[in-house]
C-alpha cells in the first residue's frame, strides 16, 4: 500500500470497531461477555476478507482493484489476528480466573477456539517481508496456508458455542464460491491435451 496517509488511515479504519468496543466496555455500557461475539466475528470476517483476495484475483485477473486488495491482504490478516487477541482478552476478563479458563479447556467449543488462535498466530507472526526473505517464498506461503485450518477451527468454535449453523456457514460460503469460481476458470483455461500432440 502506498501513500503517506493511506496506510495509517487504513489501519485506523481496521482498528475503529475495536476502539468502539473498548470504549463501550470502559464506560461500562457492556460487559466483557457481550463483546465476545462482535470481536470474534470481526476476526473471522477480516480473515475471510484476506483470504478472498487471492482466488478472486485469479478469477478476474490482476486489475487495479485486485492489486489494491492483494496489497492490503497482509494487513487484513494481521488485523484479523488482532481481533482474535481482543476476543481472547474479553474472554479472559469475563472468566476472571486462570483456573476457570483451564477448567473449560476440555470443552470442544473452547479448545477449537484456542487451536484456531494458535493456527492464526503463525501466519500473523510471519507477515513481514523479513520473514518472507528468511523462510523463502515457498515455505513462507506454506506457513500462510495455516489460515485455512484456522478458519475451519474458528467456525467450528463458533458453531459449537451457538449451534446456529446458518451464521457460521454464511461466512464460509463466499470463500467456497470464490475457490469454486477459480477452479472453473482454471479448468476452462487449461491447455488442451490435443495441442501437445505433435
Amino acid at each position: 500500500m502506498t501513500g503517506r496517509f493511506t496506510r495509517p488511515l487504513f489501519w485506523l479504519a481496521l482498528a475503529l470497531p475495536a476502539l468502539l468496543m473498548l470504549a463501550d466496555f470502559l464506560r461500562g455500557a457492556v460487559l466483557a461477555m457481550d463483546l465476545l461475539h462482535p470481536s470474534g466475528e470481526m476476526a473471522v470476517r477480516l480473515m475471510i476478507a484476506a483470504m478472498l483476495a487471492g482466488p478472486l484475483a485469479g478469477v478476474f485477473g490482476p486489475n487495479r482493484f485486485f492489486r489494491g486488495w492483494l496489497a492490503v491482504r497482509r494487513n487484513l490478516g494481521v488485523a484479523a489476528f488482532g481481533y482474535a487477541m481482543l476476543h481472547l482478552a474479553f474472554y479472559g476478563v469475563d472468566m476472571g480466573l486462570l483456573a476457570a479458563i483451564v477448567d473449560e479447556l476440555e470443552l470442544p467449543s473452547i479448545w477449537t477456539g484456542w487451536l484456531a488462535l494458535a493456527a492464526m498466530a503463525v501466519p500473523a507472526a510471519l507477515s513481514r517481508d523479513r520473514a518472507m526473505i528468511a523462510l523463502g517464498r515457498r515455505r513462507w506461503k506454506a506457513a500462510q496456508r495455516l489460515v485455512y485450518p484456522a478458519l475451519l477451527l474458528a467456525l467450528a468454535h463458533w458453531l459449537l458455542l451457538d449451534w446456529q449453523w446458518q451464521a457460521a456457514a454464511a461466512h464460509l460460503v463466499p470463500l467456497a464460491l470464490a475457490w469454486l469460481a477459480l477452479l472453473i476458470v482454471r479448468f476452462n483455461h487449461r491447455p488442451s491435451q490435443r495441442s501437445h500432440v505433435p
Binding site: L31, M33, R45, L56, N63, D94, L161, Q164, V173
Partner: protein, 107 residues
Amino acid sequence: MTKTRALLLAVLPLLTVIAAPTAHADGNVRCDAGPRDTWRPLAELRKKAWMEGWTVQKTQIEGDCYEVYGRTESGQAIEAFFHPVTLKKLVVFRRGKEIFRAPGFSG
C-alpha cells in the same frame, strides 16, 4: 465480461461476509410462554437464579424465554433458560454444551 461486471462479482462475496447475520447464542430455545403480560418480573428470575447458588451476570428476554448468564458455585460459566410464567429451569448450557434439561422439555 466487462470490467464493471467483474468488479461487481468480486465485491459480492465480500458484501455477503459483511452482511452475514449476527449470531445469537442458543436462540433456538422456545418456551411457549404466551402473552408477556402474564410473565413474572425479571427480579423474581434473578432471585430464582440466586437460589440455585449462581452468581448472575446478566438476565434478558431471549425469544419467548427468560435467559440467565452466570456462574455456578464451582465457577463454571453457564447460560440458562427459564419459563417466564412458571420460572421453571428448562435448559442449561455450558459454552454451548447442554448440561441440564428439564424432564419432558423439548423446546
